[in-house]
Every structure is written in C-alpha cells, then in structure tokens.
C-alpha cells in the first residue's frame, strides 16, 4: 500500500509541484520590467532541469573525479595512486587490452557487416523479411542474448552428447568439442561475436535508412554514365553514407567501451576476459571505491571525445537538412 501511495505521489505530485513553481514564478516575473522579464524567463523555466542535471549528473561526475584521487576511506589525497594501480596491475591491464579488442573488432564488424547487409538487402526482393531476420537480436536484452549464447557455447565432456549447438556441429564433422569460453584463443572472440550478433541489426537499420535517402536520380545518372555496381557503391553510396557511418561507428565504439552485460553473464571476467566496465564493477564489489572511481574516470575520458564527434556530426546533419 505504501508503495502505491509513493508511486501516485511521484506521478501526480512532481508535475504539480513543477506547475506550482511556474505559476508562482510567473506571478513574480509579471511584475518585473518588460526587458528583464524577457531575459530572465528562459533561465527561470530551465532552472529545474539545470538543477536536476547538476544534482544527479554534474555533482556525481565531479565527486567521482575527486574520489579517484583520494584513499578508499576518503580521508587523504593519494595523488595518482589509483590511476597507477589501474595502468600497472596485470589483471587491470588485461581488461584494458580486452576493451581495445572489443573496440576494434566489435566496431569494425558491427558497422562493416551492417553496411554490407544494408547495401545488399537494398537490392533484393525480400528486403523487409531479410532486415527483420538481421534486426531480430537487437531488441533482445543483452542478458537474455548472453544466456542464449551460453547454451550455444555449452561444453560437455568429450565423448558424451554435446548439448551446446556449436560443439554438436563440431561433433558432426568428427571434431573434438571446444571449450569456447575457457580456451584463451576463442573466449574473447566468442564474447565479441555475441556483441556483434546483437548490434549488427541496429547498424544495418540506421545505414539502410540513410541509404534510402540517397536520390535514385544520382544512381541512375551514374549507371547511364556506365559505372558498374561496385563503382557506384565505392564512389557514390559510401561517400554519401559517410556521416551516418561515423555516427554509427562512434556509437558502436562507445558501446564497445561500455560493454558489461555480455562478459558478466558469459564468463564473469574469468580466463582473462575482463573488460574495463567489469573491472570497475569488481573494484566496487570489493569495496575499492576510489579505484573504481579511477576506472570510471578513465572510461569517461575515453568516451567524451567520441561523444563530441558524435554530437558535432548530428549537428552537421541537422544543418544539411
């Protein structure tokens, strides 16, 4: 019952309070001189949003940066100790290496396959059906997708019935089963593959939408000029798609750097599969708050430039329209 009251309170009271804020404020602003009114009103209206953003985003961000230079009990300054730990300890270095692997392979394949598939399905009759099939993994929650793949990668003792799909297939061709998630040559690749599997559809849909926006007249003109399909893709389609590919690419890089769920569910970071985000989580779980903060700051610092690129691209696209 308490929860219901709280929920109703949150849904009804919060908008009412904001409405009250504006009504009360307007009564004051109305009495100010016209010019000050015009100058002051936007700030006044934006203040609640700025306030929320400050309390829930800016303050935690600054606090995290501060904590990353403090000791764990938050009593003294320790300089760059937490960062030195992060960049010198073997297990955290492994997570850094793996995040780089994710960044390169996940981004390259998700965007590359998305692009190829988008261009190819554009030319087939069953386009929507093909697109649905590729897009299907996207709405699946990453945890559910990981559990699906846990079954796909399942390993049973050699000589017994293989319940994992991949090892069952290997069995058909007479190969010994592979412990996909344990074997160090396959485990990172297997995890990244799951990521690609669930992201390609997203890249494809966005690229495909932008592909549709390319006017058919341009393509026709090129064909009349005698360009073959490969030349068209190379010289016309790809350059026109470039802004979209950059946006998708940066989004995928950010996803790659933030990867957590797939690794956590499938291996929990065992057998050298840790990534930065799982490393941050385990530091938190082991009550190393300042180290976790340092990892968070590194991750944030890596993502910010990409965000800037992304936002610039969006703005450029807006301007072009």
């Amino acid at each position: 019952m308490d929860q219901i009251i709280t929920a109703i309170g949150a849904i009804v009271l919060v908008p009412l309070v904001l409405l009250g804020y504006i009504l009360l404020g307007e009564r004051v602003i109305e009495r100010l001189p016209e010019r000050i009114q015009e100058w002051f009103r936007p700030y006044f209206w934006a203040l609640p949003a700025i306030g929320f953003a400050t309390i829930f985003m800016v303050y935690p961000l600054l606090r995290t940066v501060v904590i990353s230079f403090r000791n764990n009990a938050d009593t003294t300054w320790v300089g760059f100790d937490n960062y030195v730990y992060f960049f010198t300890f073997p297990s955290t270095l492994t997570s850094l290496r793996n995040s780089l692997l994710w960044l390169v392979f996940y981004t390259f394949f998700a965007v590359g396959l998305g692009l190829i598939i988008a261009i190819m399905v554009d030319r087939v009759r069953y386009e929507s059906l093909a697109k649905i099939a590729i897009f299907l993994p996207v709405p699946i929650s990453a945890v559910a997708a990981s559990i699906i793949w846990k079954f796909m990668f399942d390993y049973q003792a050699p000589g017994t019935t293989q319940t994992g799909t991949l090892n069952a297939l290997l069995g058909v061709v007479g190969h010994e089963p592979v412990a996909w998630l344990v074997n160090s040559t396959t485990n990172n690749a297997a995890l990244i593959f799951v990521g690609i599997w669930s992201a390609t559809g997203f890249a494809m849909v966005i690229i495909s939408a932008s592909l549709k926006a390319i006017s058919s007249e341009v393509l026709e003109a090129a064909r009349i000029d005698g360009a073959n399909e490969f030349r068209i893709v190379q010289l016309i389609v790809t350059p026109l798609l470039w802004p979209t590919i950059t946006v998708i690419g940066t989004t995928m890089i950010i996803n790659a750097l933030k990867t957590f769920d797939i690794v956590y569910v499938l291996t929990a970071g065992a057998y050298d599969t840790d990534v930065i985000a799982t490393q941050m989580f385990s530091q938190l779980a082991h009550a190393h708050f300042s180290r976790a903060a340092a990892v968070g700051v590194v991750l944030f610092a890596a993502i910010v430039p990409l965000l800037v690129v992304n936002i610039r691209r969006f703005q450029q696209q807006e301007e072009q329209r």
Binding site: D2, T6, G9, L13, L16, V17, L19, G20, L23, L24, R27, N71, N72, A73, Y85, F89, P90, S91, D154, Y155, Q156, A157, P158, T160, A179, L181, V182, N183, Y264, A268, A270, Y271, S282, Q283, A285, H286, A287, H288
Partner: protein, 444 residues
C-alpha cells in the same frame, strides 16, 4: 472582478501546491522510520531462497503462532555490502540479518555499535554448551575470534545451521571397496577396477563465483598438510601464496584435477556447474568414482536422479588423512548465522527462539542441512553421520576464501581456475596472488 478572482484562484493553487509539497516531504520522512522499534514485527534479511527459504518459513510458523510477531523476510544475497553502506550513511538497517564475515569489517561494526551482542538477551551458558563447540568457542579461549563472530569476548553471531565440507561422495553401486584412510591410498585406487572412467569428478563453474568448489578442495588439503595455526595465518594474509607449503597445496590439488584423474579433463571441470558435477557418478558406465563436496550436495543428487536415496544409493567418507595424525582433526565447515542490528523486543524474542532445539529441529526435519545444536536428531542417514563428524572434529576451520578480503577471495578462486586450465602457469599464478595479497590486506 473576474480578473481579481482569477488572480486569487491562481494564488490559491500555488499556495495549496506548496502546502502539498510540504506534506509530501514530511510524510515521506516519517513513513521510513515506522518499521523499526515495532513490537509486533521483525524485518529480516536472509541469504536463502527456494527450499532453504521454505524451510525457514516452516521454522517461523510456530513462532508467529505463539507470539503473534510477524517476520518480514527479504532474500538479499548482497546484504553485507548494503548493510555496510547503511552503517556509513546512517540509513535504516534490517532488525536481523547475517553478520559480515570479514574480520576487519566485523570489528568496525562492533565498534560502531551496529551489531548487538548475544550476551544482552541470550542465556549464553545454555547456548555455548548446546551448540557445536567449534562454532561458539574460540580456540584456547581467546577473546577475539572474528571467524566465528567473537569480539572482545562477546558473541555477535547466533549460529543456526552448519554444513561439513571436504566429504568424498560416491555411488554405492559403483564403488564397493573400503574407504581409503590416506590421500595416497585414495589416489592409488584404480577406477577401471570398479568400471568407472576416472577417479574424480569436478565442477568449478558457479557463475560469478566460479572457482569456489575448487577452493574448498584446496582448503581441505592445506588444512590437513599443515596445522590449524598455519591455515589461519594464511587466511589472515600472514603466509604468502608462494610459501612452499601453499605451493605444495596447489600441487596436491592439481593431482585431483589432472587429465589422468578428472572426468572429461580440465575443460569439463571448468565448464561444469558444481551442482551437476556428480552426475557422471550415476551414469552407466560411471564417469568417475568420487566427488568431493559438502553435505548440501546430497540434495542435488536426489534432485537430478529421482529415486536415489542417501545412505542406500550414495554415501560419503571423510576427507582422507594427508599424513599427519595431529591435523586430521581439522574439519572444514561453514555456518549460517543471524546477527542483530536493531535491538527491539520482537527481534530479541525471535533470536531467543532460533537458538532453541525445537526451532532448529524443524530445519533438521526438512533436511538438507545440519543445525548448530549438537542434540538434534536426523532421519537422513547422511546428515546423521555428518553430525557425528561435526561433533568429533577437533577444530572446525572456516573456508579460507570466505574470510579473506573480497578481492583476495576473487583472485584466489580465479587462480584455481587458471592452474586447472594450465598447470604450467602455477608459479606465475602464485606470484600474482602475492601481489594481490600485498594490496588486499593493506588497511585502506
């Protein structure tokens, strides 16, 4: 007139909204505190789910019936972290919850007065004489034994359940020989003589806690190759992982999971969930002869192979000696405890009730666990014998990883997976553990 009216009404709206906001703010504050200090209800966090939780509800039924006190149970497997945060931030804690098992944290909580000693409400002489001595009495009568919740001579953990680890389970239809008494005799058994493929089964997979079953195995080796004091110093971080005795423990462990001895090879041990590890024992032909695991595993056997009965179809023998008679009395076990965070009359009554034999007998009757009281009776022959094992143990030694700082524990568990996967990495793995140890035990 109408303009005045509209102005008035908008002012009225604004004012009444302000008043509403105030009421909401006050209401929110007071409703949070209403749960504590209540005489007719107790809030409790437990780590149990499923059958274990059901068994606890059965234990509570007579209590609620006779006292009218309702117990609000929340299953919370992250209670230590949440309580730690609650203590730091001063937010409400549950009335009852398990205590932390981290010795440093335990002392801290006691100093801050967050934990209430059992001495303030329990008949201690009855409690300590009735419960397994290893759970209530510090070796040599020391004032501090944080591993069983004793700080400054006072008890902060009410022991309610226990399990015995390091038991060697077998299928009675397959292994018909006599139980080996030494580890060398155990290794010398030829599985094909009994129609089994390999000597041991193993399953170390357990989600994010993968590796703990392996740590149980190595704990049982180290505590028998060395004395209790050495084992405890190792847990406390005073013995390095590169110490020759710890290395010997790892090497002995590797014999149990070598390609020659473990069912399916190391990859099978690493990818098999601990609950399914014993399944090959019951197949025909048997995949293995033995599985080392705690008392709780019998419930997994009967669940996976309906119709099998403990004592008739499968049984266990105690961990064989590692060659030193003096250390054979060391037994690896763990316990479930309840600690008090809010001293309310209702919480006291519940704690007093949980310490009684009739309450714990309900647990014992539901099966799957030992109580903490010595005199309980068990219908399940496995637990009947496990109770004897617990009663005769000289030292009940805790599971090492559970009492190490959590990053040490995680690295320790992971190290066992790594050496199982690649035994040649042993020296590098141990050196890395020393590095983690040096950082983990430093007070931050």
């Amino acid at each position: 007139m109408s303009e005045v009216f509209s102005r008035l009404s908008s002012r009225a709206i604004a004012l009444s909204l302000g008043a509403l906001l105030l009421v909401a703010a006050c209401g929110g504050g007071s409703s949070n505190n209403s749960s504590s200090g209540n005489a007719t209800s107790v809030t409790q966090w437990v780590a149990w789910g499923g059958a274990e939780l059901q068994a606890y509800r059965d234990v509570l039924k007579p209590f609620t019936a006779s006292t009218g006190i309702t117990v609000h149970i929340t299953t919370n497997r992250d209670s230590t972290n949440q309580i730690a945060n609650g203590i730091i931030s001063g937010t409400d804690l549950p009335d009852l919850a398990p205590s932390t098992t981290d010795p440093i944290q335990l002392k801290d909580w006691v100093t801050k007065g967050a934990l209430k000693p059992l001495e303030s409400f329990l008949d201690m002489s009855a409690y300590t004489s009735g419960t397994y001595p290893a759970l209530t009495t510090a070796p040599g009568g020391a004032a501090d034994d944080p591993y069983i919740g004793i700080i400054g001579g006072k008890h902060y953990m009410l022991m309610i359940k226990t399990q015995v680890k390091g038991l060697i389970w077998y299928n009675k239809k397959v292994f018909t020989g006599t139980a080996p008494t030494t580890f060398d005799q155990l290794l010398a058994i030829n599985p094909s003589q009994y129609g089994a493929q390999k000597l041991f089964c193993a399953g170390f997979e357990s989600g994010t806690a993968s590796g703990w079953p392996a740590s149980d195995q190595i704990d049982n080796i180290i505590m028998r190759q060395n004395d209790a004091a050495f084992y405890t110093s190792w847990i406390q971080g005073k013995v390095k992982f590169t110490d020759p005795q710890i290395k010997l423990g790892y090497q002995t462990f590797l014999k149990e999971v070598s390609a020659a001895n473990v069912y399916g090879g190391s990859n099978t041990a690493l990818t098999t969930n601990f609950g399914k590890a014993g399944d090959p024992m019951f197949k025909t032909p048997a995949g293995c002869l033995f599985l080392e695991q705690a008392t709780f595993i019998s419930a997994f056997f009967t669940q996976d192979f309906p119709g099998t009965k403990a004592g008739t179809d499968f049984d266990f023998f105690g961990h064989p000696s590692m060659g030193s008679a003096a250390n054979d009395g060391n037994l690896n076990g763990f316990y479930d405890n309840v600690a008090m965070y809010n001293d309310t009359p209702a919480a006291r009554k519940l704690m007093q009730y949980l310490a009684t034999a009739p309450a714990q007998q309900i647990w014992a009757n539901d099966g799957g666990t030992l109580g903490a009281i010595k005199t309980l009776t068990y219908t399940d022959p496995v637990f009947k014998r496990a109770a004897e094992v617990a009663n005769t143990a000289k030292n009940l030694l805790v599971t090492a990883g559970d009492f190490m700082p959590s990053d040490m524990q995680a690295a320790f568990w992971k190290s066992l997976l790594d050496v199982t996967k690649d035994p040649s990495s042993l020296n590098a793995v141990l050196a890395h553990l020393d590095q983690v140890q040096a950082a983990a035990y430093k007070a931050s």
